[in-house]
Symmetry: C2
Amino acid sequence: MKKLINKPEDVVREELEGIVVAHPDLVTVHFDPNYVIRADAPVKGKAAVISGGGSGHEPMHGGFVGVGMLDAACPGAVFTSPTPDQMLEATKAVNGGAGVLHIVKNYTGDIMNFEMAADLARSEGIEIESVVINDDVAVEDSLYTAGRRGVGTTVLAEKVCGAAAEAGRPIKEVAELCRKVNGWGRSMGMALTSCTVPHAGRPTFDLPENEMEIGIGIHGEPGRKRLPLASADEITAMLMEPILGDLPYKAGDQVLLFVNGMGGTPLIELYVVYRKAYEMATKHGLKVARNLIGPFITSLEMAGMSITLLKLDDDLIKLWDAPVKTPGLRWGM
Amino acid sequence: MKKLINKPEDVVREELEGIVVAHPDLVTVHFDPNYVIRADAPVKGKAAVISGGGSGHEPMHGGFVGVGMLDAACPGAVFTSPTPDQMLEATKAVNGGAGVLHIVKNYTGDIMNFEMAADLARSEGIEIESVVINDDVAVEDSLYTAGRRGVGTTVLAEKVCGAAAEAGRPIKEVAELCRKVNGWGRSMGMALTSCTVPHAGRPTFDLPENEMEIGIGIHGEPGRKRLPLASADEITAMLMEPILGDLPYKAGDQVLLFVNGMGGTPLIELYVVYRKAYEMATKHGLKVARNLIGPFITSLEMAGMSITLLKLDDDLIKLWDAPVKTPGLRWGM
């Protein structure tokens, strides 16, 4: 296992200690239980937006805390759901009296623990909305999930809902918006290599030198199929075809095209993929109005990528373009 | 070789084709010879700033073209200097009549070709300033270089000089500023794994599972020493000590601390490194006033990182904070 870490059991804490000294202007980190909140939290009268999940997907979610995006993120151990305790404490810490939205990726542990935290928070008088993201067209059920997994659309939902909350929209509207984004987002991913969870010390799965996994999950859980290595164009088509075939929208619609790196794939390759994905989306009659290219929802050092298509309307474009200032995503401020 | 590419000889062209469709609002790409220029180039009356070098270090340099940073970038083949022809054509394309600064990393091929381009441009009546970046404290001479190599400080020089040019400073001042940044920047890198140049098809060097290379160059050229794998804190100290020992500044000075990923190392590990580097810089009496954390000057999919320290004065802080809008670095707009 070749990693820039100290003891495996200290990785998450030490990463958070790095965030503390790197971004005191943007975020505050609370330890035991671990959560990252906006430096100016709670913002009085503003609906708050929270997400969380296992660590190992950075910059998601801790890197998306800041003005115009998340109010808080709850990082679990690597590839392990955060506890209800973390989520509850984060919820209380960012509650500005106008309700809190929990954005939850569809993994069994996350769902269960966020539900428990929501119940506890409600019993303390906090209004909670909860939206589950389940945008992965690759598989119906998997090792970690009943139903579709929650992947790339989560990043886009966090940006858009964060902007809406920042603009003063009420919690019910922000939750409705999140459901719309989830309904309009479709994703699929693939891996060239496995990744190694620090405390496991060995690759999550074996992938021979001449094979790849299509439809991989962000924890390295099995996808649709193992295939011989193919060209970037062929691989891009293997992801884009199921996504395009599943779209609840039509020719002429505007979309955001998100090509995401899994952690170990360099940017030069993501642009090669983007080129082909853009061509296919355009041929399908879609108008690519916005994009995001880079490692935003990762799987440690896994080599590979995922593609997400999100339908945009004028409101979503306005919210996407709105200023954001977080460690992982920033523009306009 | 596991990469998301089509034919190895097409990688750079296809990456640029991806940039064309991804960022038409920011940049324009010219093919044969290949260069990337600001969408609004040439900007009349503004000093222009150009850089370039082999591809494989993305987002540097093409990802740093845009308002507030580079006017143009010349991408060579992977790990291969661009030609004088590329640099000359890019220089002419961005010349707004107020001179052009060439920021050149200290590699023999880059130096030679940028010098030739500068001579040709001068003979066409364009005022050229040229500054060589040589900030790598690891080795004096190497496979690609006489003297110190040019690494992380290049990214910082491109940001700061781009901001100065955007603010209307004359070319001679922008060049002087670039020399100041180079004089105040110190870097060193390390690798956990090799990388594979697409047209070579095999790793540039062998690095056994239990070893690392300290002082690596951004093309995988040899560093100071091979050592058994160590902890993140130990590795960070192995880079920070030579950097701190070479600093031309003193306790109480303000610095920018840049922890750079080599391409295959995930963000979670870079924050573990940042935590230790920050601690050491602070113990040394330096005040870390700004930072940059992520993959900005990479070596394809190499796992590893580099650290750069740049002394800051009030002017440099103002220029660092100035708005920038490029595919790879963006804030304030």
